[in-house]
């Protein structure tokens, strides 16, 4: 008799399964239509690295010490700087970073002594070739400022 009981129970389980799916039919849709509406980013979102704009000096405070260059596990940062003259601190002229190989681990942001690196909130980066992802952050900041 177990055979018939199993069939009845099986049939009832199928009906119950269908009840679950049909109840979903008129529930509100969960997905967001991306290009039309955009989700708001989480406060701690880690976008690609960029130089912070300090109010007092109006520009970044990168002293080209190379701490981030050494801390980066995938060695994607190259910093160059000059000392205008003997007494003054060093100032960074070029800050190259290869976004396509950066794994966004955040070690550079943590080790920066002058806290001038921060995560941006941009996630729609694109480029036509692999080399277009090698970016000079300083030039980028000049551009965004002007």
């Amino acid at each position: 008799m177990g055979y018939w009981k199993e069939i009845v129970e099986g049939g009832w389980s199928l009906v119950e399964g269908m009840r679950v799916t049909v109840r979903r039919l008129w529930r509100p849709v969960v997905t967001v239509q991306y290009p039309r509406k955009q989700l708001n980013l989480s406060p701690a979102y880690r976008g690609h690295i960029e130089l912070r704009l300090f109010a007092d000096t109006g520009t970044h405070k990168c002293i080209a010490c190379g701490a981030c260059q050494r801390a980066c596990p995938s060695h994607v940062i190259r910093v160059q700087g000059i000392k205008p003259h003997m007494k003054s601190p060093k100032k960074a002229t070029h800050y190259f970073i290869d976004f396509s190989r950066c794994s966004l681990c955040g070690l550079c942001v943590e080790t920066c002594p002058t806290q001038t690196l921060q995560y941006s909130r941009e996630y729609e980066l694109e480029g036509d070739s692999r080399w277009s992802s090698v970016v000079d952050l300083i030039a980028r900041q000049e551009q965004s400022r002007s």
């Binding site: 399964g17 269908m18 049909v22 979903r24 529930r27 997905t31």
Partner: protein, 326 residues
């Protein structure tokens, strides 16, 4: 010219044109409906971008498929390979000839209507086997062999269930069967046969939970793995047209064709009743597809040989006895 207009020939040609147009539009609409139903069941939207409510999405897919290159694998059987999709699609159209849309809207009200539909629907299995075997791909071969075994196994209970209805009306003509359901629909008289018919119909059109031949997660895409472009489009349209025919036959056999429930028509014309019921049945088939997992191949066979066929035979015998007594 006038006599030609009223002659039988003209009626046939107009009927053919209407059938082709209706079946194509219907298939496109069903593809859109399936994606919308699947979307909303899964808490997402389904096609929305192309045209109002995404209605032109299927047409856009069709144009894309027509535009795609027809790739033929080098080692494929180049005589059978291009023919297989046409073989699948052609018999499905023939089924429209005898469908009872409305009292006088049957193209060819043959007295062997039911037989004709099931004869031609059995032909698609041959075409699927041709398609699967000729594409010389292991997955396609496995899919084709499985679909042959499945269709053979589910053809028998399907016909037995239909037989018990035909026995009651003792005529194979669709209009006779629909007229016989004037007062009460056969689904209340023959509930078991209706259930068996629906299950076997889903299996016949290779729809989940019986879609073993084109099981995505196992056989990549089953028998139509190697087909690209409009060849795949034909397989796709054939499946949806087949689904329409199967539910149209179910409405006319069990749910009273163009008649309203229990005799009162509420003034709605016959064809609206017929299409409404057919689309409700199609919705049920889609609803089943997006709810249940897939049966394994041997369970599928056991379900048919050990459960469906005995049940439909018993149902047939009971119908015969009851008819004898009344």
């Amino acid at each position: 010219m006038g006599s030609f207009m009223a002659s039988e020939w003209f009626r046939l040609i107009v009927g053919l044109v209407i059938v082709l147009a209706f079946s194509q539009l219907n298939a496109l609409f069903l593809v859109w409906l399936e994606r919308k139903v699947a979307g909303h069941i899964q808490l997402r939207i389904g096609p929305k971008e192309v045209g109002p409510f995404g209605l032109l999405q299927t047409i856009a897919d069709g144009i894309k498929l027509v535009g795609k290159e027809l790739i033929t694998p080098r080692s494929a059987d180049n005589k059978l390979f291009p023919v297989a999709p046409v073989l699948v699609f052609m018999p499905v159209l023939v089924g429209f000839l005898v469908l009872p849309f409305a009292p006088h809207l049957i193209i060819r009200d043959m007295n062997v209507g039911v037989l004709l539909i099931f004869a031609f629907s059995a032909f698609t299995v041959l075409a699927i086997l041709a398609g699967g075997w000729s594409s010389n791909n292991k997955y396609a071969l496995l899919g084709a062999i499985r679909s042959v075994a499945q269709n053979v196994a589910y053809e028998i209970p399907l016909l037995l269930a239909v037989l018990s209805v035909v026995l009651m009306v003792n005529s194979l003509q669709f209009s006779e069967i629909v007229k016989a359901q004037g007062r009460v629909w056969f689904v209340f008289v023959q509930p078991v046969a209706a259930l068996i018919y629906l299950i076997c119909a889903t299996a016949e059109t290779n729809r989940a939970p019986f879609d073993i031949p084109e099981a995505e997660s196992e056989l990549v895409a089953g028998f139509h793995t190697e087909f690209s472009g409009m060849r795949f489009g034909l397989f796709f349209l054939a499946e949806y047209t087949n689904m329409f025919i199967v539910s149209a036959v179910a409405t006319s056999l069990f749910f009273g064709g163009w008649q309203g429930p229990f005799g009162f028509d509420l003034g709605i014309p016959g064809i609206v009743w017929f299409l409404a019921k057919t689309y409700v049945l199609i919705f049920v088939i889609m609803w089943v597809r997006w709810t249940f997992p897939r049966l394994r191949f041997d369970q599928l066979m056991n379900l048919s040989w050990k459960f469906m066929i005995p049940l439909s035979l018993a149902n047939l015998i009971v119908t015969a006895i009851v008819l004898k007594l009344i």
